[in-house]
Amino acid sequence: MNDELKYLLGRTVQGKHSRRAFLGRAGALGVSAAMANTILAGAARAQEPKKGGLIRMGMQGGESTNTLDPALAASEVPFAVNMTWGEMLTDVDPHGNLDMRIAEEVSSSPDAKTWKFKIRQGVEFHNGKTVTAEDVLATMQRHSDESSQSGALGIVQGIESMSAEGDMFTVTLASGNADLPYLMGDYHLIIQPNGGRDDPAAGIGAGPYKVVVNEPGVRHGFEKHANYWDDRIGHADQTEILVINDTTARVAALQAGQVQMINRVDPKVYGLLKKAPGILVHATPGRGHYVFIMHCTAAPFDNNDLRMALKLAINRQEMVDKVLGGLGSVGNDFPINSAYPLFDDTIEQREYDPDQAAFYYKKSGHDGTPIVLRTASGAFPGAVEAAQLYQQTAAAAGIPLEIKREPDDGYWSDVWNVQPFCASYWGGRPVQDQMYSTAYLSTAEWNDTKFHNEKFDGLLIAARAELDNAKRKSMYAEMAHILRDEGGLILPMFNDFVEGVSDTIGGWESDPNGELMNGRAHVKCWLA
């Protein structure tokens, strides 16, 4: 292999070049695509994990009010912290497949109503106790019973009954759900001894690392759990999460080598940081998206022509370029993208069309008074700017928008889900069913567009119990069409996770499930 090819290969494995760029350059050097692919696969395999050392992550999204109780985890740092010491029944791998964790096997009845999870033998909690099906049962009960305060309550409330027998944990649902194993991977549902009833915030779990230091809002320190069952992850001896909410300080800490990974690199510094020596910046397409939501039940948004006018009056590409700095992709007014399993990529992309928008606006018979759009800088990063861009493009179609800037404080309690037209965001869910069930089913608690459509609901319920993937895919496509053309959701963009990683880190993999490799970058990577 000549030197240039070797150099290219090194850069590609490190992530400085895309795979496609490597194949192109290799082709220019006279290497066939098939040959280049083989070389690349070999080089990637050659990166063997190394054990030992201390990995530090600097993260935004932690406060001194954080707790270790998984039921109350909401922001990024508690999420990553819980992923360090805790483990769920199942997980979703970067390719969207089910990853069996505490459950070793899962099987269901043909109607997808009864699910049996076989609990892995010999998994040990940090307090030395062995994980049993009773612990799993107690955990699920704590999250779903009538006194539950859990953020996962919406996910587990479809459960009719549960039982534990030997090493088998059985769930019976009120109606069939083919995605239940995915739902059990929700980050709140960490298995705790006796379900965490004794002390929910003890931080005792069955994850790869034990909690050593817990200073909320400052730092969280961990050391390896010696009896952890899976040696494919947890390579470092110790790991630490430092809470660095200030963007500049976070980037400086990475540059100075104090931390090896950071989340939330500002798109404004993306280009500059990429050029910094010893640092790789990864933009990972995810399922998270930024939205403007209209209540389909409130005037004037109860008129589908007006909703259509507003959907056509937004310039999606401009938003991706200006608000996300190009680090994202355009949305199509339904909350699903190619990061989801069973995504139909043939659905036509909606474009900015001021003439059509003007046509629908006229057809709706709106009286021409300004339509109030509420936004706040905390609604999503760049929400105020995005609203202003929207105001401009809508004005070009003759639709008057009035931007009302709300305080961040209390935005989620007083504006979102209360006011008829506002900016918001969604983090995405591992499967389509969960995303639709969370926010678009008529009866969903967080139906923030007040969308009520019998056909849509019927399809959602039917698809949930459908085990044939081809049929399921076409059902989801039909639902996407309904939501796109009749829903109250304006979805201009899906945002990428943008993260900075030191080149001393090996094993980085892009994971659409969540930021920093779904909160496990420090657990899955190693010090190269």
């Binding site: 600097g58 001194s64 009538e146 430092l242 300080a249 400086a252 309690s413 967080w446």
Partner: protein, 318 residues
């Protein structure tokens, strides 16, 4: 009773009343904010049931007045309670944070106060000549620079360009004093730059005021060196206003450094308070608010006592 003792007792009694008033104001302020703890904790993922259960457990369903008096009686017995958000003991958490804040304030004060006073003396000695103008120019520019800009500049210089210090100032138990000092070097520098000008200008102005007096002229005619005149004869008579400004700045170093804490990721009281205000965690906000108020009141009493001791005329009120 000794007049100073009497004054201190009176001031302390008044201070306690002020603290009570402050606690009522803080309570009302937090109550007026939209949303409550339960909503803030669960955020966008709150369901009605989860909210209801959480409110029940945190005792938020009781009327506001009942909650206030419950808190007040517990606090009077020395029980600050636990944080609503994460159930941690407030006295323990606040104790650690307060220790960190005082540590940072102590080192910033140790450098800034003597430096400010010496610079003030030098400025008077060479008044209206280049050293005076240089000192005033530099200190006035550093006070005009927002704290975070100064912080970022120093961070860029000393952590990215010259890798002398760490950009993260997080300190924790188990670090040696040397490690801690190296960690807080940058925030101390920023704080010194921020508080320097105020104290320096006050020292300069107060001494210049005294320099017009007849006894300074006498000292000059005796042939004393100008610096001795300023340090020995003028400065002691200018102490009262200088002490007042020094105390105000010390109070600021304890109470007002949240921006510096955020920029350097320093685990002090400011960030801790802001987090809990955001989450409407009333018991913690109360505890922090009262500590801050007590620091202000205490330092003001101290300033008054020192002024009186420094000026015999004030010891005998008419």
């Amino acid at each position: 009773m000794h007049p100073i003792l009497k004054l201190v007792t009176q001031r302390l009694a008044l201070g306690l009343l002020l603290l009570l008033a402050a606690s009522a104001l803080i309570f009302i302020g937090v109550e007026l904010l939209p949303g409550d703890v339960a909503q803030s904790i669960l955020g966008q993922s709150a369901t009605e049931t989860a909210l209801r259960n959480l409110r029940e457990e945190l005792g938020l369903n009781e009327p506001a007045l009942t909650r206030y008096f419950k808190w007040l009686f517990a606090a009077l017995q020395g029980d600050l309670g636990t944080a609503l958000t994460n159930g941690q003991s407030i006295s323990k958490a606040v104790g650690e944070r307060l220790g960190n804040t005082l540590f940072l304030a102590f080192w910033a004060a140790l450098f800034s106060v003597p430096l400010a006073i010496v610079l003030g003396l030098i400025a008077v000695r060479y008044r209206n000549r280049w050293p005076d103008k240089l000192i005033s120019g530099i200190t006035l520019s550093t006070i005009s620079l927002p704290e975070f800009v100064a912080g970022y500049l120093l961070m860029y210089l000393f952590t990215v360009k010259i890798r002398l210090f760490s950009p993260i100032s997080t300190i924790y138990s188990g670090m040696s004093l040397g490690e801690k000092l190296s960690a807080i070097a940058l925030p101390v520098m920023v704080l010194v730059l921020v508080v320097l000008a105020h104290m320096m200008r006050m020292t300069r102005a107060a001494i210049l005021n005294v320099m017009q007096s007849a006894y300074i002229e006498t000292a000059e005619l005796k042939g004393l060196r100008p610096f001795v005149i300023i340090a020995r004869h003028a400065f002691p008579n200018a102490i009262a206003p200088v002490v007042n400004v020094v105390m105000l700045n010390l109070a600021y170093l304890v109470v007002g450094v949240v921006v510096v804490e955020v920029v350097f990721v320093y685990p002090g009281m400011g960030q801790y308070l802001v987090d809990h205000v955001t989450k409407r965690d009333l018991p913690v906000v109360q505890a922090c608010g009262l500590i801050f108020a007590a620091v202000y009141i205490g330092l003001n009493i101290l300033a008054d006592v020192i002024s009186i001791l420094a000026n015999p005329r004030l010891r005998h009120p008419k």
